[in-house]
């Protein structure tokens, strides 16, 4: 798809989805909202981690930071300020952490980001306990459901568009170059350090902004719920299922998984997570490129099939 077609497709989808609050039931609307949240999280995650092969498990940390910006700021600031602020704080945090740890490759990086959620969660818990003398926070005076929905829709669409724009820019090519061979990219004049930090912070911005936007959906915020490792796990899983190298793959699989989550997680919470764990294992073992990696194969098969059919028909006509 060219960049222009992508813009048109995303805008068209955005307009259709923007009508949802007036056409869908409350239940269906909350389903779509969950889909949009995971779509935004996954696409922005894949934008950095898919391209560079730096496996970030820190999504929950950024999401939680955003949520806490809302929890702390909503009393004094309007919602429209709090959401981008949550993204900016998460991005600043990512840039700071990234500057310290992005020179580490492979397992070290993943491990550090894995602990990041824990670290921030403990820090926030400690801060709340000793300075605010509270465990969680009740959000009062939250914006209407429609506002939240449209904000999340806007963020998800922005994540998709940014992701496409990045992929066809010098910056995106530099990220992909780092993923393919970091030393070669460096030799060819890419400032790998700056590129990585910028990519990491950009992905964190969307996770943080989504966290800030979604926080008002839960009227009670506590560290254990917003820094839930499940958010990071689900994001990685969805991106892996869809194929982290593409944009469409994660987008499509986030719809499927959010629906599954909504329906199954409340009814069979443990069994559902066991199945998801199993799914991730099977996927990494047997389909490391995700569903999207099947497309070229499927297309080739279809083409071959078409050719054979044409030949048969041609043969039939002659006989």
């Amino acid at each position: 798809m060219t960049l222009r077609n992508t813009w048109i497709a995303t805008l068209a989808a955005g307009v259709v989805l923007a009508a949802a609050p007036w056409t869908l039931s409350d239940f269906a609307l909350s389903l779509v909202l969950t889909c949009l949240m995971y779509a935004g999280l996954t696409v922005s995650w894949a934008m950095f981690s898919g391209a560079t092969a730096y496996l970030s498990l820190a999504t929950a940390a950024f999401f939680g930071i955003g949520a806490y910006v809302t929890a702390w700021g909503l009393a004094t600031l309007p919602y429209a300020v709090v959401v981008p602020l949550g993204g900016l704080v998460a991005a600043a945090f990512a840039a700071l952490v990234g500057a310290a740890i992005l020179h580490l490759r492979g397992a070290y990086f993943a491990v550090l980001t894995f602990g990041l959620g824990e670290l921030v969660r403990h820090a926030v818990t400690y801060f709340e306990k000793s300075y605010a003398h509270t465990v969680g926070r009740v959000l009062i005076d939250v914006p209407a459901g429609t506002t939240v929905y449209l904000t999340v829709l806007l963020l998800a669409a922005a994540a998709v568009l940014t992701s496409y724009a990045v992929r066809s820019s010098r910056f995106g090519l530099a990220l992909a170059g780092i993923g393919a061979d970091e030393e070669r990219a460096q030799t060819l004049g890419v400032n790998t350090r700056l590129t990585k930090i910028a990519g990491f912070a950009l992905a964190a911005f969307f996770a943080g902004a989504l966290g800030a936007a979604m926080a008002v959906r839960w009227t009670y915020i506590e560290p254990n719920s917003v820094f839930n490792p499940f958010i990071g796990f689900q994001t990685v899983l969805i991106a892996m299922v869809g194929g982290a190298h593409t944009v469409i793959g994660p987008l499509a699989s986030s719809v499927v998984f959010s629906l599954l989550t909504e329906f199954l997680r409340l009814q069979f919470p443990y069994l559902f997570l066991i199945l998801l764990g199993l799914l991730l294992i099977l996927l990494v073992l047997y389909l490391p490129g995700g569903i999207a990696s099947l497309w070229p194969i499927a297309r080739a098969r279809l083409a071959a099939l078409g050719a054979r059919l044409a030949k048969l028909e041609g043969g039939g006509a002659r006989a």
């Binding site: 491990v111 403990h122 818990t125």
Partner: protein, 289 residues
Amino acid sequence: MSFWLELAASGLITGGIYAVVAIGLNLQYGLMRIMNISHGEFLMLGAYLTWLAHTVLKVNPLLSLPFVALCLFALGLGVYRLCFRRIARTAPSVEAIEARSLLVSFGLMFLVQNAAYLAWGADLRGYSFLAEPVEIAGARFTANRLVLFGFAVAASLVLLALLWFTLVGKAVRAMMQSPTGAQLVGIDTAVLHPTVFGVGLALAGVAGALLSMVYEISPAMGEPYTVTALIVITLGGLGSTLGALLGGFLLGVVEAFGMHFTSPSLKMLLSYGVFILVLLARPKGLFAR
């Protein structure tokens, strides 16, 4: 004086457990590049096995230690066969092995932890074992903590001795130094890899069994130990067994003193601070030459 002794000793006791958990994880990573972030879940399984044996069959937890180790070893062989063998065979590069095994163990973490929730529920479980206090040089400890320390150190030392003084240990060390070279002189990866993976899980299981004697257990108990073990092996250097042992004690003591001077709820922040400092200053570990 006795207060400081108590503080240092409690740090060492915690550190002993850290060392056992970290050595297992470090062996797996050093030998196979498997960054097993589900390691703590197997610690949790070891704890539950011991608890079950004690409450249902009235088995002395110390007697069930070898049994737990064997169970986890067998489980490790199975897990390796089902999950990691394929990765090692099909991944195009070492980086791909690391990334894929990390993701697989991420999946394992959710699988095992939630299976435990399903089987035993979210309640804290525990039993009382050797809980009477003992006085040594003016410092007081509960007996079970001393037992825990003794067995943790013993398990670590036995493993070190195995690595240093037996032929299998030599093979493991050779393979860590140079996988290709080791294979050239006839060391069989297909035997060594599952065995070492199993030993890693067995150590995690032993650590869990020991912990269940002192603390209450829950399905979520493993995750913090995974993070701590990762910090410890960074301190000691990836792949270094002795480094993991010393790093474990060091982190235990640092945590004990740090918590005394600040606040117990800062434990995680403290160890994380140590982690980041070491990564920035000495990314190859404190003891690297």
